[in-house]
């Protein structure tokens, strides 16, 4: 279902895996240096954090939603899981949250395995609806966790207040996780795993008959995406120092995670990044221009409809349409993958 990415006519050297990897690391380093080079620009740091934050999650989502074509409306379940695992560990045992980052990731991956094995058998729209159910059930479970188990761990709706943490350290960690996420998605997309996922995307049954272990690959893709969403949760906990189920498990986050890759370019490596940039920067601009809290969702809703109707490949697709005029500027070259 994910359409073939457009031939952008970019030169071979630019699209090679090594160049792209280097580009990713370079961007990560530049962003990491922001607090060093512009120590007073706190707003820029905040913006950078949220752009990277959404980019990490969207990139993760894109692996199951874009590459494998299984659209999930419930990924906030993994974000919340990561946030609360790290948050609760930090609160109760005083362990540095960034150290619990891998634990949060693995916990979410395990959870994704639990829900993924039965639900990934479902086709397209049914899987999407199941994920809505999983996302909402996870939220309600988090809200009622303390009541169900008779403990005082998550503090339910009141929210969990966490100790202070150095914002700069979080910034570096975020940049590092971003680089990791991007390298992972690049490696998957260009490798055997990605080819298998795209085959499943195009035609699951046909892929089965030529030897693609569809169930196994889908579950793995979901686990990787859950891992990265959970790491974003940890980073959020460390930065904002306050967690509550409504924001961590909120349906609005799940919606954002569908919208961002779609706007940016479903199933492409850089699409989620473009989308995250547009989404965060856009949200920021809209909120400063108008006090109205509902304007963003109106714009996003319209954007979603327009994209689905006219340009399913979002920004990357639009770039593809610009290829002809752009091609006259750049060197003529062979197409990308």
């Amino acid at each position: 279902m994910t359409p073939q990415p457009p031939r952008l006519g970019l030169p071979r050297w630019l699209t090679s895996v090594w160049t792209q990897a280097a580009l990713i690391v370079a961007i990560g380093v530049v962003i990491a240096l922001i607090p060093v080079l512009q120590p007073r620009a706190l707003n820029l740091q905040r913006l950078a954090f949220f752009v990277l934050w959404y980019a990490i999650m969207a990139t993760g989502w894109n692996i199951i939603g874009g590459y494998a074509g299984q659209i999930s409306f419930g990924h906030s379940a993994f974000l919340g899981m990561g946030a609360y695992v790290s948050g609760v560990l930090w609160y109760t045992t005083k362990i540095d949250p960034l150290l619990t980052l891998p634990i949060a990731g693995l916990a979410a991956a395990a959870y994704s395995f639990l829900v993924g094995v039965p639900t990934l058998r479902l086709r397209g729209p049914y899987f999407a609806i199941a994920t809505i159910g999983v996302g909402e059930a996870s939220r309600l479970f988090a809200v009622n966790f303390d009541d169900i188990f008779g403990v005082t761990l998550t503090k339910g709706v009141t929210g969990l207040s966490l100790p202070n943490y150095d914002a700069e350290t979080v910034h570096y960690a975020t940049a590092a996780v971003f680089v990791l996420a991007m390298l992972t998605t690049l490696w998957i997309r260009r490798g055997v795993f990605g080819t298998g996922l795209f085959a499943i995307n195009m035609d699951r049954d046909a892929a089965e008959t030529v030897g693609v272990p569809t169930a196994r690959l889908q579950v793995l893709a979901l686990a990787v995406s859950a891992f990265f969403c959970a790491t974003a949760g940890t980073l959020y906990a460390a930065r904002q120092q306050f967690l509550d189920p409504a924001s961590m498990f909120g349906f609005d986050k799940s919606i954002a995670l569908v919208l961002i890759p779609l706007v940016g370019g479903l199933g492409t490596v850089w699409g989620p990044v473009f989308g995250a940039l547009l989404y965060s920067a856009g949200l920021d601009q809209i909120q400063s221009a108008s006090r109205n809290p509902y304007l963003p969702s109106l714009i996003y809703g319209v954007l979603l409809v327009v994209i689905v109707l006219f340009e399913p490949l979002g920004i990357v697709g639009l770039l593809g349409r610009l290829r002809a005029p752009l091609g006259r500027l750049l060197r003529p070259a062979e197409g990308t993958t």
Binding site: Q4, F198, D203, T209, P213
Partner: protein
């Protein structure tokens, strides 16, 4: 060149009240082209799907080189050396011809990687005369080329047994003849072929052995000539009066 490679015993498939395949035995020898014909609704495609793992049998067994494969998932069956093509072709529409075949090479029995995989894809594209269309998207191909692509992708998995489901359907006489040549070439490379066909010319000229099915049962088995002359077969296709 002797010995059975694919054996089905007592294969039965029930869908609710309908018995699509009723206690059928099938024995395919290595290196053969084995044909399966019968009027519509005879159960041929269902039998095919039982052999390839898409359906699990209600009863009966399927053995590939002595290994039980009934009820295994299609990708596991592929790993053991049996691959199917589909009646309605299902290429990976938004992938190029090259990438379609590459999937088979990467995930097929030999699990090739890197340069070896690319070399194999080149070889198969050459073999199926699709090299010229390497960079074309599968959705842009003509039907004949899509059918060849389907076969190419299956060949990339390095099968011992290839199941062809109505691979000649919808082709004009020239394309049909090309497909027949391709099938002969495939057998020549040592792959056993089982094919379901309605295009009589193709299957009669190719098959070493033919099984005729009707209403879920085997009604005849033999060479093309033997089967063509069998009164039970004529009756199944043309009805009672044709005999009388």
């Amino acid at each position: 060149m002797s010995g059975s490679i694919l054996v089905g015993r007592g294969l039965t498939k029930r869908f609710g009240g309908l018995v699509a395949v009723n206690f059928v035995d099938i024995e395919v020898d290595e290196g053969q082209i084995y044909g399966l014909i019968g009027p519509n609704g005879a159960g041929k495609t269902t039998l095919f799907r039982l052999l390839s793992g898409v359906y699990a049998p209600t009863a009966g067994t399927v053995e590939l080189r002595g290994r039980k494969i009934a009820g295994l998932s299609p990708h596991a069956v592929c790993a053991f050396g049996l691959v199917t093509t589909h009646q309605i072709v299902r290429p990976f529409a938004d992938m190029t011809v090259h990438r379609n075949v590459l999937v088979g090479a990467l995930y097929g029995r030999r699990g090739l990687r890197g340069a070896a995989a690319e070399a194999e894809v080149d070889r198969i594209l050459e073999f199926t005369q699709l090299s010229a269309h390497r960079a074309t998207l599968a959705r842009s191909l003509t039907l004949a080329r899509r059918k060849r692509l389907e076969v190419a992708r299956a060949l990339a998995t390095a099968p011992d047994v290839l199941l062809l489901d109505e691979v000649a359907a919808g082709l004009n006489p020239t394309e049909g003849a090309q497909m027949v040549d391709l099938i002969r070439k495939i057998r020549g490379s040592g792959i056993t072929i089982v094919m379901v066909e309605h295009v009589m010319k193709a299957i009669m000229s190719l098959s070493d052995r033919i099984m005729v099915m009707d209403l879920g049962r085997k009604i005849a088995l033999g060479t093309a000539d033997e089967v063509a002359r069998d009164p039970a077969v004529v009756k199944a296709y043309l009805g009672e009066r044709a005999i009388a």
